[in-house]
Structure formats: C-alpha cells, structure tokens
Symmetry: C2
Subunit: 366 residues, 2 copies
C-alpha cells in the first residue's frame, strides 16, 4: 500500500539482492525507519521485539531469516538449527512454523550448492502468495461490507489490533476488505481499538488508515461494547494468529471480549485469515493453542510522543504493583459469523472449512 504516495511492502530485498529490508514497526507512527537485516540474529530479534509483527508478516520474515542463515552456512545441520531458533521467537502465530516447515521440506531435498538460491526463491514466493491471498481476502470480504452501504450510507466497521497491510506483506487480512471497499467508492468509517498493551490499533491501524485516507476514530478497548449497544457498529472484522480446524481463533488479547459484545448485539463478527493461519492439527483452541505471555513492562509502561517531540516511555502503575501480560486470547468458533479466506467465506466449523480446503479433510471413519 502507499505511504504518502509511495508504494511499500512491509518486507523486501535490498538493492544488493540478498539483505532484507523491513519497516521498524516499533517506531510507528512517529517515524518511518527502514532497517536492513543481514543475519539470522537480527531477524530473530526483529520478530521477538515486534519490529515486524502480524502472523502473515512473521511467516514471511522467518522465511527470509532462513535465507540469511543459509547464506552464512548452507549445511543441513545449520539450517535445522536456524529454523528451530526462529520457530521459538513467538509461540502463538502458526504462520511462523508454517513458513519454516515449507522451506525445510523443500530445502532438505535440495543439494547444498543450490540451497541458498532456492531458499530466496521460496521466500519470495511466500511473500508474493501472501499479497495475492490478501487481495483475494479483500474481494471476498467486500461482499460482506457492500450490503451495509445501501444508498451511500457510511459503513461502520470495528477492528482490533492491526491486521492491516503492516501485519502482512501487503493489503492486510482484516483491513483488506476495507481497502477493497474503499477502492470501490464505498463510504467507510473504522472504529480502531487502541489495543493495549502495545497499542497496535492506536499506533499502526490508525496510521495506515490515515495514510490511505480512510476515515477512522481511535477508541479505548473498553468502548466497543457500548458502541455496539447503540447501533454504531455494522460489522466487526479482525485477523487471527492461529485458527483451529473447528474454527476457534487465537488473536490479539481482547478479541474474545469484542466477539461476545458482537454476539450480544447481533453484530456480524468475521475473522479474516489466509490459509497459512489455519492450524489443521488442532481442534480445541482454548485448550490447545499456546498463548504467549509477554513482559509485564508492556502493561506497566507505555511509549508515546512527549510534548517536546521526544519518544518517551512512561510508567502507569505504582512501582510495587505487578502486572500480567497474556498477549492473545481465543475466541470460540461459536461466536464467529465466519471466516474470510483467500478461497472465500465460510462458517467457522470443520465441515465448512473443509468445504473450502478439501485437501485438509480427514478421511471418513472406516
């Protein structure tokens, strides 16, 4: 998508043809810092420190991380070690493991001299496929938005966290239908949950919507239920970090609360995910999806821009008060209107998901 008229992706190869460029998302919305990653350790740090975040982008970044590791040492043992190290950087998003498994499967069969080139080609394919899939998610999701736009009415959409182009290689997942609707001239207004503790909504979603010219209003995470009670939300679209085969969706902490409010107020609640976010090996999301516990400092403090322009971290809690920071929660499938995937929309249950992705259907019992 564009930043001040210039087209960007969130990750791309440098002009040197091998080093990796990313936008340092921890600096947004205050400054657009482009980082150059040249080795595995930098990539692991970028994922862990959330310089890149968002399930699809984490997957693409890990793929390029493996390329950089192979460039330094193309042996099988080094490759396996690098992949294991990258897989540990974040526990919840399944795309990370999906992308690494895809590269490993291919590269284990690839002779060592050809491995680096093939890794770069596959990482590029993962990135390009992500863009194409998100574009398709946008088109399928557009069909859910359009009915609310009768007679030029403004459609009010609520989203949580950032599942925009910044969370993917381009287009986004939850925001892809919004960008598609905007392209078609549908009038939109987006309620942006600030998404404490890391404020991806206030910092990233508000920034990317603003840069693209889409009307939006930032709200505290507490406000969505009240807005839904008063008819101010037509539909909710969020992304996810992992969706089980029965449709339970792990997404940024607080998503579950918004799904409950949507259900209580008969507001459609959709989860937009590329197929790389589907974890066919899991069923019960609440019991089975590992939930990352991040640093208490992310709750106890917040970073923003002080009046003098300096980026400043301030403490919000008394110095002796502990804090806890589960980073994701799981919304049970029963609370979802459905899933928006690159192959179309479906209900959040195994039969419907397997209807779109028959290659993952389990064989019938004997």
């Amino acid at each position: 998508m564009k930043i001040d008229g210039t087209p960007f992706r969130t990750i791309w190869l440098d002009q040197d043809g091998w080093s990796v460029r990313i936008i340092d998302q921890t600096k947004l919305p205050w400054s657009l810092d482009i980082l150059r990653l040249t080795e595995l350790g930098q990539v692991a740090h970028a994922i862990r420190a959330m310089q890149v975040r968002g399930a699809p982008l984490i997957g693409a970044t890990a793929a390029y991380g493996l390329c950089l590791a192979l460039r330094a040492e193309p042996s099988l043992a080094a490759m396996e070690a690098a992949a294991a190290m990258l897989a540990e950087t974040r526990p919840t998003a399944v795309n990370l493991r999906w992308a690494l498994a895809r590269l490993l499967t291919l590269l284990r069969e690839t002779p060592e001299p050809a491995r680096v080139a093939r890794a770069y080609a596959e990482a590029a394919a993962i990135a390009d496929e992500d863009v194409a899939q998100n574009r398709a998610i946008g088109e399928h999701g557009l069909a859910l938005i359009a009915p609310f736009a009768d007679a030029g009415r403004v459609v009010n959409i609520l989203t949580h966290c950032n599942a925009g182009w910044l969370a993917t290689v381009d287009w986004g997942t939850a925001l892809a239908p919004i960008y598609a609707a905007h392209e078609r001239g549908i009038k939109l207004h987006v309620w942006v949950d600030e998404t404490r503790p890391r404020n991806q909504g206030a910092a990233l979603t508000a920034w990317e919507l603003g840069k693209h010219g889409i009307a939006h209003t930032v709200i505290a995470d507490n406000a969505g239920g009240h807005l839904m009670q008063h008819g101010a939300v037509d539909l909710v679209i969020v992304g996810a970090d992992r969706v089980t085969r029965r449709g339970d969706a792990a997404n940024k902490i607080g998503t579950y609360l918004k799904a409950l409010a949507a259900g209580d107020n008969h507001v459609p609640f959709w989860v937009a995910v590329p197929s790389s976010t589907l974890d066919w090996s899991l069923c019960d999301g609440i019991a089975e999806i590992p939930i990352e516990e991040r640093s208490a400092a992310e709750v106890a403090t917040v970073t923003g821009r002080a009046m003098d322009g300096t980026i400043t971290t301030v403490r919000l809690t008394p110095k002796d008060s502990p804090a806890a920071n589960p980073a994701f929660d799981v919304t049970p499938a029963r609370l979802l209107s459905g899933l928006i995937t690159e192959r179309g929309c479906c209900a959040a249950n195994e039969a419907s998901l397997c209807g779109l992705f028959p290659e993952f259907a389990l064989p019938p019992p004997l």
Copy 2:
C-alpha cells in the same frame, strides 16, 4: 483507610472548620497532594477534572461545594444557582444529583441565617452515612467471597476501574468486601483492570490495594476474558455510577464487556452500590442513562512517570487521527449475578430491589 499507617478519608473539613480538604486523585499514584477548596468554582473544577471521582465521593463533594457556595452567599437564589452549576459537572453518576437534592430539600425550608450551619451538618451526615453504608456493603459482600476461600485457598477477584475507598468517603463499594475479607484473614488476589483511558485501575486501585497490603496484579482491559476462560477468576465485583430500578448498571466504560465474559464463563458478577446510586426514576438503563462523552485527548494521550521521574503526558495516536471517549457503559441487569447494597444482596431486578427498599416500590395498579 490507611496510607502508610495513617488513617485517611478522601474528603474532610480543614482545621479551620469550613474549608474542604481532598486528595488530588489526578496526582496518584505518583504523589499524595492534599488540596484545600475554599469556593464553589474550585469544587466544580475538582469534580469536572476528576481530582475527586467515584459516584459516592462526587456526591459528598458536591454537598460540601454547596456549603462553600452558601458561605459566600446564603440566599435561596444563589443556592439554587450553585446547585444547578454543580449538577452539570458530571452527567452519569446519580449520587451527585441525589446529594444536591437532599440538601436543597432541607435548605429550602431552612431560614437563611441557619442555612450554612445546617448545610455543613447535612454534608457531614452524607459523608458519615457513606462510610457506614460502605462498611455494610463490605460485610454483605464478604459472604459472597468467603465460600471460595475453603481450606485457605486464595480467592481471585477481578475488578474494573476504581470503586475502592478513593471512590467513596471511605471503604469503597466494590473493594469494601475485599477489605472486609482481608480483615478476616481470607487470602485474596485481585486482578486490576488498568481501565483505559484514565487508568483508574492501574493508578488508583493498584495504589490503594498496595498501600493496604492486598496482593494484586494489573492487567490490560483486554485480558479479563482470557483469564476467566482459564479459571483464574473466582468472581468479579465492580461499582456503579447509576443503577436503574430494574437493575441495569452504568459503570466505567468496559464493565459491560467483563460482564459478558463472566456470563460466558459462569463467573459470578456482582455490582456493589450504596442506595444513593439507585435511580428509581429510570428503568431501561441503555436507553435512559445519559453517558458522558469526555475529551478525545484522554484517549489520544496518557500520563505517567518518565524514567527521569517527571510526570509526563505522551501522545499515543497519529496526530491526524480522531478519538472518541464515551466514559461509561450500561450492563443490562440480565448479566448481573446481583447487587450488593448496604441493606444486603439481591438479584438485579425490580422485585428484589424493592424487597430491600420497600419505600421505593410502586403502588400496585388499581
């Protein structure tokens, strides 16, 4: 309650016998600033700027504000004007209007020369009654906590915003049962919602619990649903700013979301209120309770302590992104386990409320 061993109330008369002392709650948890209020305008500012907040404390403060106004000018006209001005400072909490109406009813019948003394006596009565009522709420609420403490087990209670002693004259509403249980040696741990945008949980509840030695953990407002899904919350107790005769409860924005999560996870959800918070004139809380819309700056920015110790306000959102700030939401009675009042606990419906408060029962239809 005590601060570092010294007993405090949130509002009291100065040694001069007429000016009013309050704790400036906008400075907590960073410093304990005591303000001296000597005129009506300062009182109105203190309520508006949330130097005092919490429905019961707002009521007591408004009562003393009327005393200061009468001291300057004891005429009926001046009194009515002062009361009207105080009533406009905050729209949602009903205690404000309740306290003013109580004083006006009394003082309209009081000869002008006796008015000031009688106003001070009545304001003191309101404050003392609040303390006694909250103490009673604590005892009644204790009975809800005790069953979870079998065999010395730690009871996990979640609360939202600050309905502790800082929100009242003393003891608090939602936290009164927690203080009562702590007095009885019950082991407790409190999950403290930070309560964006003004962080009354992170700043005030964490502070007062810490000063009293009660174990607690601050969490993002987004986290409560996840904790309930995983059995980490035994019960929820919150306060309210206004409760209708059928039991709908207006409280700090986000309360409704926690009530939905409690319902979805079979966690008891109680609202603790003195009878001055009951608005017998209203029935449908969502349609009828006015919801204060506060400044967008409270969402766009946050104030905390920078690493150099200075209290600093930082901006969280891009400069062109608007923000909205509804300060309360309404939890429908159907989501409440019940109400804890100074006369006992009851179900959140008109029949049960009128059982405890028969003086407000409507006459039977002819």
